[in-house]
């Protein structure tokens, strides 16, 4: 229904505008603060007219927090998570929607359960697993007495160990293993007409062929949408990278921002912190701008 009342138009636009101001105001303050010098940024109240030290501050933030390699780390991690998510979700959804096999529903519900167990909830066991990926297998061997048996027979003590702390794999893999993407794909695959599947079968295409030639090109928009969301989500991860990267060489941009935040009793260099924030904010912004056309289409429309 389309309302044509000038008053209502004005009123709804007013609400929209207020909302917009609420959203944008903090960013405006950040940008302005990033352009002041040390004295101006600590004035109370801070001047809302931009200062002239913007580029100086950006440069200082960049060198102080050594943002170059950290942005690269963040980029590798976020891209890895986004790509991994897109691939794993597409494959699992393909299996669930297009194949009939025993235990299908069980697997479906197992995947579903991961939705209720986000990383933050299972962070301790996840950390334990990443610290030594083979730990669960070691436990199985110990419990069943196999390691005892091996030790008795060969004299070798079984000690499985494969640590992923301070590695890209350790950063990426636990974030990939959740179900959100699987559901997005499942819903999309369910809208693909059965006749298309049958036509492909009549044309002689096997399951994998159908997946690559027909399903993937059709789900391009979904892939873009999921990839964008996952990139942003991974980029903004804080707790997990903080926990498993003790080594500076694998530190993330978002976690390293705290290097720029003034300590209690230190010099209140808020202008540098704000400049750093702007730098870290930029890559996801670029991704959204570039992907937004597909992103919106993938979330709302089913193109047929």
């Amino acid at each position: 229904m389309v309302e044509r009342t000038p008053f209502l138009n004005f009123f709804t636009h007013l609400i929209l505008f207020i909302g917009f101001v609420f959203c944008i105001a903090p960013f405006v303050v950040v940008v302005i603060a990033a352009s002041h010098n040390l004295k101006d940024v600590n004035d109370v109240p801070m001047s809302l007219l931009p200062g002239s030290d913007f580029w100086v501050n950006i440069k200082t933030a960049w060198t102080t927090a050594d943002l170059g390699p950290k942005l690269l780390n963040s980029f590798i991690m976020a891209t890895g998570v986004a790509a991994g998510k897109v691939i794993v979700s597409a494959l699992t959804a393909f299996s669930i929607v297009y194949f009939r096999y025993p235990g299908r529903m069980l697997i479906f519900w197992l995947i579903f359960i991961t939705l209720m167990l986000p990383l933050e909830v299972r962070i301790v066991p996840t950390y334990a697993v990443v610290a030594n990926v083979l730990e669960p297998y070691q436990a199985i061997l110990d419990l069943t007495g196999i390691s005892w048996l091996i030790e008795k027979v060969s004299g070798v003590q079984v000690q499985l160990s494969l640590g992923l702390l301070n590695s890209y794999s350790g950063l990426i893999l636990p974030l990939v293993a959740t179900a959100t993407g699987t559901f997005l794909y499942r819903q999309f695959f369910l809208t693909v007409p059965d006749e298309l599947t049958e036509a492909a079968r009549m044309d002689g295409a096997g399951a994998l062929r159908f997946f690559i030639d027909i399903l993937l090109p059709l789900s391009r928009n979904n892939m873009a949408a999921l990839g964008t969301i996952m990139f942003l989500w991974a980029w903004n991860q804080y707790l997990w990278p903080l926990l498993i990267t003790t080594d500076q060489s694998h530190a993330m941009a978002v976690t390293e921002l705290k290097q720029l935040i003034p300590n209690v009793g230190g010099i209140p260099e808020w202008h540098i912190a704000m400049a750093g924030t702007l730098i870290v904010m930029l890559p996801p912004l670029i991704v959204v701008v570039l992907m937004q056309r597909w992103f919106v289409r993938g979330l709302i429309a089913t193109e047929k």
């Binding site: 079968r201 009549m202 044309d203 002689g204 030639d213 027909i214 059709l218």
Partner: protein, 366 residues
Amino acid sequence: MASITIRGIKKNYAKTQVVHGVDLDFASGEFVVILGPSGCGKSTLLRMIAGLEEISGGEIAIDGTVVNKLEPRERGCAMVFQNYALYPHMSVSQNIGYSLKVAGVPSAERQQRIQAVARTLELEHLLDRKPMALSGGQRQRVAMGRAMIREPKVFLFDEPLSNLDAKLRVQMRSEIRKLHRRLNATSVFVTHDQVEAMTLADRLVVMNGGRVEQVGTPGEIYTRPASRFVATFVGAPAMNILEGTVDLDGLSLLGGSRRLAMARAGLPVGTKVAMGIRPEAVRLVAPGTAGALDATVDLVEELGAGRVIYVDLDGAPFSVMTSEAVHPEPGSQVGLKISPEDMHFFSSETGARLDVFKASVPEPAL
């Protein structure tokens, strides 16, 4: 080209059986149309031939090879779907050539065959378009091209014309017919549209409730329907059916309120029958004419070349199709003249055809 042999085919979905033991033989190069109302199992049967649906019982053989366990691609069938099922992200030429690509045909040969098919179907100027940018009839042609390019032994059509508008449907119908004459491949065409069925078929299979009611040429089906179902399903407007009882010298109709006198034939007196008469076989005469049934006109439908007159026969609906220049007013009386040779008789209980009134039946000695 290939013959198809179907023996005792059954299909169950969980506990419901939708196809009850069908036996059919399609000769090589024949154009067979399977006709029936929706839900009669005709599409299921076609899909079992294609290999898209598992066979619950019985055997299907193409060219003498039992194909029950073969994948669709190994059966040598091509199928045209109701909604065309074109790949939306591929151009017309990619759509047509996809099966060749899957089969690993080299690109040069593929292009050549795509061109040949496109020329046959007059699609040459559309090869680079996406299906989205095509009209219904063009999409239909692309779907046919996709089936043709594989040079299949058998063409399967699953109601391919039902999404087209009436004019285009007639045009595509004749194109399919011409195409069949040229390729001469065995074709099985499923439809619920009887005009489509009559015009296309070499042989017609009428199905109802998962069973075959009758197999025959369109002419046979029309003139000698094997059951009451076939009689009323084929032909438009539908055949009139009047329930009646055989008496000594004719038929007592509509619970005894009307009589039709005729030479006595071989049915025992008291047999309950359903008498069928096609609307186009009824002649309109003046009310009160001897041997005719009087009825009240309800409604007249003008068709241009003729008209359908719906009359009320003691509460029973009855239709007459005439090309004569008569225009009875609704509410007026007309006489309906029915010749015995135009009548069809079906058993009231089983619906099966009873042929006793035909001329060759000898008069039993009294």
